[in-house]
Amino acid sequence: MTALRDETDDADIGDLHEVVDPVPGAGAPHLPQQPDLVQLLTPEGERMEHPDYPLDVSDEELRGFYRDMTLVRRWDAEATALQRQGELGIWASLLGQEAAQLGAGRALRDSDTAFPTYREHGVAWARGVDPLHVMSLFRGVDNGGWDPVERGFNLYTIVIGAQCLHATGYAMGVQRDGDGSAVLAFLGDGATSQGEVNEAMVFAASFDAPVVFFCQNNQYAISVPLERQSKVPLYRRAAGFGFPGVRVDGNDVLAVLAVTRAALQAAREGQGPTFIEAFTYRMGAHTTSDDPTRYRLAGEVEEWKLRDPIARLKAYLSRSGLADAAFFEDVEAEADRLAARIRSGTVEMPDPRPTAMFDTVYAEQTPPLAAQRAQFEAYQASFEGGEHA
């Protein structure tokens, strides 16, 4: 059956080994280059140009990225610590994915809208969401304390992939409104296997919806490595649905910014969807409940440390004289203040009112639920009166 198999072997869908390699070269000197990877900043902090993605970025913005990523990483570390101390129910760390998230988040305009998974704390930061409004979710106080409409940043979605359809539908609305904004849907590598995510690609392509699918391929879905989801690079999925896919070095904040901006701009201009695969790595556990030593080797993590997204930007800033020691110290100090605020804000967070659970089930309350609420209040009151004591 040579005829069909030949097609598998051609450049278009071959290269199986590239992905089976647990740490495909994202530019580390000892690893093979990926010809299809967009990169503007090497792991050593060298600035590169890419013919398709010229990037104009001010010194101020570059320092801003360093600050963003450092603060977000510190927040993440503080949250992990707070979980260990019992102050959070769980925490999903973004460690290692700061560049992917800040690059994507900063590519958005104010009027754009993002649809995150549960790990996009960096994007939340870029959208001006108060970290405490994210902490409240993981503390079990609410399902996210920010205003999704005001922030242009939807609430976290925990059911894998469901938000890709929401983003697509929202983009269909944007299209009808004709206001030139765009929509960014986040998803993980594991999520690409969900039917709903593939349906989102069908709808987005069919309606030319102004939506960009931003997939952080962090190599794992909990314990399951990428190759269980796909043996070919994920960005190639898009072509089969009729729109472009591109792979970017997800640990390179500049490349992510450039590629995401270009895709959003195309969406704005009516050119339809794009799929971006940000090739990155989950440096920590899936969540604080996870034990990654059960399914991956320490050496793999070590190799990825060589591609740290913050270290490379720091190297570039230092080397090119864009930032000095004082700048880096300032950022550290700011990170300390942020961490302190997050800590105190979290531990002092008031518990929700118990009756809250009845009050926003519906926009128009129903008589039976109002009655249940009243019974609940009477029942609670009976304890205060000592009836059940």
């Binding site: 359809l165 089930v361 039976p368 639920l369």
Partner: protein, 335 residues
Amino acid sequence: MSAELLEAPATTETLTIGKALNLGLRRAMEDDPKVVLLGEDIGRLGGVFRITDGLQKDFGEARVVDTPLAEAGILGTAVGLAMRGYRPVVEIQFDGFVFPAFNQIVTQVAKMHARSRGLVPMPMVIRIPFGGGIGAVEHHSESPEAYFAHTPGLKVVAVSNPVDAYWGIQQAIACPDPVVFLEPKRRYWDKAPVDTSATPGPLFGSRVVRGGDDVTVLAYGPMVKTALQAAEAAETEGRSLEVVDLRTISPLDLEPVYDSVRRTGRCVVVHEAPVTLGLGAEIAARVTETCFHSLEAPVLRVGGYDVPYPPSKLEEDYLPDLDRVLDAVDRAMGF
């Protein structure tokens, strides 16, 4: 009296349920430019039951959208449209095809308002032609209402006549919450006069549609007609049935039922869905709790058997009919 008033066109028309829905949708679309219809074959074809006939022609492809063949996709994009300020009205082609969209309905549509502490409302109507009796193949005759009624965050209604169809679809669209709107497909061609200038009663209310003293019979959607036929037949035997059209399945409006049962002391609930954990179960539990001392007999349930909907040659055996309602009435009287 002004000439205009004298010349005012007649506002009462005799309509089928199908046509009443079509006109109700049209009026809702005229009233609110944010109303967008989504579904399979609803545009050029006008829907397999022609409920959206002519709407794409008049309102355009941006407002009446023939979607790809994917129900999760339809519901999920409707969620996004609702977030953007639209009021999506989704058609599920047949009851049995709502399940690919179940995840979006249960985990997203139903929870979004609560999840967001009310910041993200989900005004959305999910239209489903439901129930059997049309001689169809598998998956075309199901009654999935209990799944939705068990899901907090959804509202569920079932219409039984052209008047409720005409007003109900408009009220459901105007409702700020997600409404699963069940259409009795085998009654689509039933006719009644509809006064399109009347003031409708509330959407989420049940209604006594026939007075009686011996047994209270509850039904909704396609079974209301069956219950009324049973009441008529019972009358010839000197037995007086009070028939309540529940109309709203979630929230249930049982005050009129309690009033009735306190008088009759006997209650029979009728639906097509399998009896086990069908609406009859919930109603029996509530009626018994509320009217315990008035009941002369347990609340009895007439429903589909606990089997997959059978091939159509057996559907008459499967579906509750006049005789099975009367049989339950007999049993209730026998206690």
